[in-house]
Symmetry: D2
Subunit: 366 residues, 4 copies
C-alpha cells in the first residue's frame, strides 16, 4: 500500500495499468528552471517503445507522453510535473484465458492472493507497461541533471543474453545504438539475432543482463547508511519488472577477490584523485568516488510462452496454460532504457540531496 | 543526510560510530504487547560478536545491549524502543596512520570528500561495528514476528568463501551452527578453515557469499511497485557494509534461463498452491508466494590488509599504506547474523504493512 | 521540493495549476475492494464547484473528474488511483496585469522569490483550484471509510463570517445543506447573505471560520508523538489555501480554562466510556477518544480585491494594483467541502495505520 | 506506529518515557561541520528544567544531556547525533492510584485503548518530559542555523495566561528573560505571579498562549503544497503536549478581516521588499516573505489537579480521582522553550530543503 513512489527529493510516483485509459508518472521535487518539453521526453520513450522490430512485442502503442502540469513557457516551475501516456492499443480480448488461470512465473497468482481483485488485462499493474512511466520520468531527470551537472552521461547496454556474454575487448560505445539489442559488442549482436529469432519462433523466451554506467558523476554523492548510492540503485533496479539480481562494480564476483585484488589503488591526478582500477563500481561506503558508476541487473525470461505449463485455476483446479498474447522473447532488450531511467532518477535525487549540506567545508584533497 | 533509517512501519534508525561512547538503534513502530527483554536480544548479538575465534577480529567488545525505552514489565508498549550498545574496547591509537592516508577500497576517501570531516578512529560511522545495532533491531523484529506469525523461521548461512562454493547436495540445516563459518556444508567448512588460516597469516582477506532464507512467510507480502518485497530486501542487503551484489532466487543466473526453465509450475496442495520448483525465490511481482524467501548477497574482502598498497594523503601526496589494526580476514562470516537481521526487519515491516488492507476480500484459491 | 503529498499510508499527491491543461490527485495506498465510480466522486466535487451562486467566483468549470487508474470493474484494485480534472475555462487574458505586479497578501511574491519562475495565470499552483484535487481524493477516502468503518460521518460547516458568529443554540444539522454558506444556523445565513452581497458589490472580501466534525470515529486512532491525530489534522487544515489558524476542541480558548473546567469527566456507558463534555474535541494525547472529532480553521479574505493597494513590480518599481478577475468574496464558503475532504483523508489514514497493530491485546475497559 | 519522528531533512526521532532509564532524541540529517558541545545544548535544556521556581513541578531532574554520537572533535560529522538524558528522579510510587484510574483530560485512557498496555508511571510516553528531548534537538538545530544563517533569531514568550493577556504596547524583548513566565510585559508578569500563586495553592491549573517569533529568516523558505512553512509549523506546535490551537500571523482573527485590512502592502526597501504590516505572520502561500515568522499556540491546563473529578477504572467501575503528584500549575511556562525548539527545527529543515534547488535562477526583485 502507498508504495508506488521512489526517491527522496526527486520523488516519482508511477500509476496506471496495462489496459486502463492511461498511465503515467507524478514527479514531485523537480527543481525549477529546467528547460523541458514533450519532444525531449518522447525521445527517450521512443527507445523503449514496443513493436519496433521483430524482437519486441508487436503491441502497437504510440506511447505519446503529455505534460499536464509543472511546466510553463518551456521550463519547469518547481511544482509537480504530471506525465501522462494514454493507452491506445488495448486488445484485452487476447487475455481471456488468463482471467481464470495463473501463469507460472508471473505475478498473476500473488496479486490475486494479496488483493483479492485483479486486473487480468495484460497483467494490469504488474505489466511491464508500467516502465513507460519510468522512462518518461527518467527523461525529466536527465533534463534536470543537464542543468545541474551537464558533464554526467548515462548509458545502458546489454552484456548478456541467455548464456551468451559480450566480449569486453570488443566493447565499443558507438555500437550501442547500432543494433536492436543495445549492445556494445557488434559481433555478439549478430549471434544474438539468430539465437533470439529461433527462440521467438519456438514461442520461448530468455533472460538477459543489462549494465548501466553513469560517467562524470562527482565524488560525494550518497547518504549513508540506508540511503547509500548503491542501496538506492539496488532498490531502483530490483523494482524493475522481472529483475532477480543487482550488482555494483564487481558484484557477486567480489566474493572471489582477495583484499589485494579488490583494492583500487589511488593516485593524485590533475583534477583530483584517480584510481588504478574500478572494482568498486565508483562507490565506496555508499558514496561516489568520481569514477564511473557501474550497475548491472539480471532480467528473467518472460513467463508468457507458447509451451504449455501446468498450473491451477482460481477455483484450485489443475490446468494447463499457453500464453498467446503479444510478448517479448527477451524483455531484457526493452529493459535497457528503463535501467537508464532508474539510474538517472537516482543520480538526480542524490545530486539534490547533496546540495543540502553546509558548503565550503567539504573535504578537499591536495 | 537524514538517511540513517530504513523500514516503512517498523522503522529502524541506527546511530553511533566505531569508537564513540556508544552506538545503537532507535526502533519506531514496534507493535505493542511483544514479549522482549535484553537477554533475548543478547542471544543474537552474541552470534555476531567479534573475537570469538581466530577467524574474526580480535577486538574484544562485550556488545551488551541495553533497552532504554519502549518496554514496560517485559512487553513492548508501542512507543520507540531505544537499544544501546556501549563501546568498551576503543584502542584508537591503532589508527593513527589512517588519519592522514586513505585506504584503497575503503570509504575513508569518500567520507572525507562528502563531509570534509572524518572520524578516522576505526572508520567512524562507516565501520562494520554499525551492524551490531542492526542485529539488536533484528532481534526485536524476530520477537515481533514471533507474536504475529510464529511459523516464520529466518536462517542465514555462508555458501561461498573466495572461489570455494558449497555443494548443495551436502546441505544440512543442522550444520549451520556447528562451524565457525555458519555454513550448511560440513566438508566445505573444513576446507575453508585451512584456506582462511593461510590468508589470515599472510595478512590478506577474502570475500564471501551469504544466503538468507525465510521459511513460513505467508503469501501476499510485498507492496508493488517500489516497495516490493524483493526491492526492500535488495536495499536492505546492499546497505550492509562491503556488499556489492544481491540476488533473489535464481539471481544473476536468471539471465541464462528460458521461459520454460524459469516457470515454477503450480499445483493445488492441501493448504493452498504449491510449486514444482522455486526459481523465483518465493517472490513474484514483488509479492511473496508462500514459498521460501531466498536472498543472497556478496561481501567484498576487507580493505584493511597487511600488504602495502599505493594511495595518497589528505594533502594529495603519494603514499603507501599498510593497515595494522585488528580486522576480519573474511568479514562475510560476521555478515551472516547481519543478513538475518535485515531479513527479519523487512519481513516484519511487510507483515505490518499487509495488515493495513481491508480484510475479508483477499484472494482465496479453491 | 517533493512536498506535494500528504498522508502516511493513504498518500495523496496533488498536481496541476489553475490554468494548465488539467489538475488532479495521485492516490497511493487506497485499500483494494472499495466500490467507487466517477459519479460518486463527482457528488463531492459539485459541492465545491465555482459559479453556483453569486457568492462564489463566476469562473465556470465543469470540474468533471475522471478515474484513470486503480479501479477495475467498479472496485479499487489496491494500485494507485489517478483522479484527473481537466481545466476548461481558462481565461488567462484576465491576468495580464498580475504578471508584472505582486498582489499584497498573495503568494505571487513568495513564489517568485522562491522559484524565480512563476505561472502567473490565475495564481498557477498557488490557486485555490488545487483544492478541487483534494475534494476528489476526499471522495475516495470517504468511500474507503465507508468500507472500513461505515458508522463514520464527516460534516463541515461555517461558524463565522467576518465578525459574525453563529448562535450554537440554533445549531441544526439539517440546515447545513439548505443555504449557500453551509451553515447550521439558518438565521445567521440570512444575515450573512446581505452582508456578503454588500461586500461583493464593493469589490471587497472577508474571512471565515469553518468547523469540521467527524462522528462515529472509534477510540484509538492516532500515533504519538509526531503523527498524533490532532497533529495530522493541524497540518492538513493549515495546508489549505488562505488558512491562518487551526483549533481542536476548545482551541485557542483552552488557554482560558482551569484544570477543573477542561476535564471531560468519564462515565461508563453501554458501549464503553462516555464523557460529560468534549473540551478535548475527541482527542487526548493525540489519540481519538470515541467522541466527535472537532476541528476548526480560519480562512483569511481573498487578496484579490477591487480597492487599489500599493505594491511593487518585478523590477522593484512602486505601483498600485487592482484585481479585476473573477473571485470569491468569501473563499471560506468553498473551503467547507475542502475541510471535509482533508478530515476524510486523515481519518482514513489513521484507520489504516491502526490496523497495523497486533490485534487482541488492545485495551478493553470493563 | 513508527510515528515518533518529524522533519524532512533534519529528522528528529524522540524516544523515552517519563520514568524509564533515559530519554532522548536521535537526530538524522544534521549537516557536517557544525560546532557543538554538550554545554551549548545544556544551556537550552536548563531553560526548560523543572523545579526552578514555585510555578513549575518540583520534580528535580538534572536534565543533563549527553552526546553519544555524530560529533567528533567539537564538530558534527554529518552522521546521526544521539542526544541522551538520563532520568534520575523517578519517584514512581507517587503514581500508584493512576495505574487503575484514568485522569479526565489526560491521555491515560486513550493510550490504554490504543495499546492495551500502558506505562502509568508519570504518564509514560505521554508525559511532557518527552519535550526535554525536543529542546535538546532544538539546541542542535540552533547551532546548525548559526552556521547556515547566523542572522536568524528565535524567541518564544508567553502572551496570555488564563484570561489575562499581555498589553502589546508594553512589549519589551529585554523583559522576556527577566521573569519566570518568559513574558515581554513586565506588568503582566506581576499580575500573573499572584494569580498563579493562588491557583497553585488551590491545587488547580490553567492554560496559556505562547508566541514564537523567528527574525531574520530569508524569503523563499517553504515547500508548497503540503510542506508549506506554516503547515510544518502547525504540525510541530500541535504535536507539543496539551496544545489545542495553532495560529500564524493574525491566526483565527483573520476571519474578521476584510481583503483591504488583510493586505500587507509592499514597498521597495534597500535590501528588498518591505511591508506596511505583518498580518501574514511572515508567510504567504506557505513560503516565507522575509518578515518575522510569527506562530502562536494555546496550551490547555494540566489535567493533574487536586480537585476530585469523576472517572472510571480499567474495569469500568465509577471512581473519583485526585492527582497528588508534582505538577505544573501552568504547563505553558515550560512550553516556551519547547515552542522555540520546534520553531528552530522547522526553520533549519526548510533552510536545508531550500538548498536543494537549482541556484542562480531564483527570483530577484529590482
Amino acid at each position: 500500500m502507498s508504495m508506488n513512489a521512489f526517491g527522496h527529493l526527486f520523488r516519482v510516483t508511477t500509476w496506471g495499468e496495462s489496459h486502463g485509459p492511461a498511465l503515467g508518472a507524478t514527479v514531485d521535487g523537480c527543481p525549477p528552471g529546467v528547460p523541458i518539453d514533450e519532444a525531449a521526453l518522447q525521445h527517450w520513450l521512443d527507445r523503449r517503445k514496443p513493436g519496433q522490430n521483430k524482437y519486441t512485442t508487436q503491441r502497437r502503442e504510440a506511447d505519446a507522453v503529455r505534460i499536464l502540469s509543472g511546466v510553463f513557457e518551456g521550463q519547469t516551475t518547481g511544482t509537480p510535473v504530471q506525465l501522462m501516456i494514454e493507452n491506445t492499443d488495448q486488445r484485452s480480448k487476447d487475455y481471456g484465458d488468463i482471467a481464470e488461470k495463473f501463469r507460472p512465473g508471473h505475478a498473476d497468482i500473488t496479486y490475486w492472493q494479496k488483493y483479492g481483485i485483479r486486473d487480468y488485462r495484460g497483467g494490469g499493474r504488474s505489466s511491464a507497461r508500467e516502465t513507460a512511466a519510468r522512462v518518461a520520468a527518467g527523461g525529466l531527470a536527465r533534463a534536470a541533471i543537464g542543468a545541474l551537472a551537464p558533464q554526467v552521461q548515462i548509458t545502458g547496454y546489454m552484456v548478456q543474453m541467455g548464456p551468451h556474454r559480450i566480449d569486453r575487448d570488443r566493447f565499443d560505445w558507438d555500437q550501442i545504438n547500432a543494433n536492436p539489442f543495445w549492445t556494445p559488442d557488434a559481433q555478439a549482436a549478430e549471434g544474438w539475432a539468430s539465437y533470439l529469432d529461433d527462440l521467438r519462433k519456438s514461442g520461448s523466451s530468455v533472460g538477459a543482463v543489462i549494465e548501466v554506467v553513469a560517467r562524470g558523476v562527482p565524488a560525494g554523492l550518497g547518504a549513508p547508511v540506508y540511503a547509500k548510492l548503491d542501496t538506492d540503485l539496488a532498490a531502483a533496479m530490483m523494482s524493475i519488472n522481472a529483475v532477480k539480481g543487482v550488482e555494483i562494480g564487481e558484484g557477486m564476483a567480489a566474493a572471489e577477490l582477495t583484499g589485494e585484488g579488490n583494492a583500487d589503488e589511488i593516485f593524485m591526478g590533475e583534477d583530483g584523485p584517480e584510481y588504478s582500477s574500478n572494482h568498486a563500481g565508483g562507490i565506496l561506503g555508499g558514496i561516489s568516488t568520481g569514477q564511473d558508476i557501474v550497475a548491472r541487473f539480471a532480467v528473467k525470461p518472460t513467463s508468457s510462452i507458447l509451451t504449455p505449463r501446468r498450473t491451477i485455476t482460481k477455483s484450485g483446479e489443475p490446468a494447463e496454460i499457453v500464453t498467446k498474447g503479444r510478448h517479448d522473447p527477451c524483455v531484457g532488450i526493452r529493459a535497457v532504457p528503463v535501467g537508464e531511467a532508474m539510474m538517472a532518477c537516482v543520480i538526480l535525487d542524490h545530486l539534490l540531496l547533496h546540495r543540502g549540506q553546509i558548503g565550503g567545508n567539504r573535504g578537499r584533497i591536495g
